[in-house]
């Protein structure tokens, strides 16, 4: 079972690596922010998987903090993104 958990954690990390492609291609700021959020949730998954190993329980607290504080960046981003107004040359698909 520990091998399966480690394998799944590795698999989730590979997903993060794949997500970097969307970071490179964008095209808009919002797209890249969505990838940041995807990394957040996938990272929480990796942390809870690693936390199941003996002696690593503290990582579950790290996952808890990540999950709890995720909206802070989102609220700040939305405030910034809306506040700085539409930027047609960037947001065109």
């Amino acid at each position: 079972m520990p091998e399966l958990r480690m394998a799944l954690a590795f698999f989730l990390l590979l997903n993060i690596l794949a997500g970097l492609v969307r970071v490179v291609r964008g095209p808009t700021l919002t797209d890249r922010f969505i990838v940041a959020q995807l990394f957040g949730t996938t990272g929480v998954g990796v942390l809870v998987l690693l936390a199941a190993d003996p002696g690593q329980a503290a990582l579950r607290d790290v996952a808890l903090v990540f999950a709890l504080l995720a909206p802070v960046t989102v609220v700040a981003f939305v405030r910034f993104a809306v506040g700085s107004g539409p930027s047609p040359e960037q947001e065109r698909r």
Binding site: R5, V44, G45, V48, R60, A67, R93
Partner: protein, 103 residues
């Protein structure tokens, strides 16, 4: 491997599958709004099934409760995040994909 372990493994692998599906969605879907849809699948089902699998095999109520709390926080965050980001994108002028080639 006991039957119980097998059940847990199925949950966790299913969760990882939804994470993969979400990542593929974020990579392949045509516009911001569709990608947002893929993102929330990872929050709800991907992490949710992994958490259920881990909670079932944890063998401790405190651990299971903390895991469910992690998921609950992500669910709340995801429900608000999705709406907020979609509105921000709309106000920034990102045109929704309609399936037709743009003129």
């Amino acid at each position: 491997m006991s039957l119980w372990d097998g059940v847990c493994a199925v949950f966790m692998v299913a969760g990882a599958f939804f994470c993969l599906a979400g990542t593929v969605g974020v990579l392949r879907f045509p516009d911001v709004y569709c990608r947002l849809h893929a993102l929330t699948k990872v929050d709800n089902l991907g992490l949710g099934l992994v958490v259920v699998g881990l909670a079932l095999q944890s063998g401790s109520w405190a651990t299971a409760l903390e895991l469910l709390l992690v998921w609950l926080f992500v669910l709340i965050s995801s429900a608000f995040t999705c709406q907020l980001i979609a509105r921000a994108a709309l106000r920034r002028g990102a045109a929704p994909w309609t399936g037709r080639r743009e003129p």
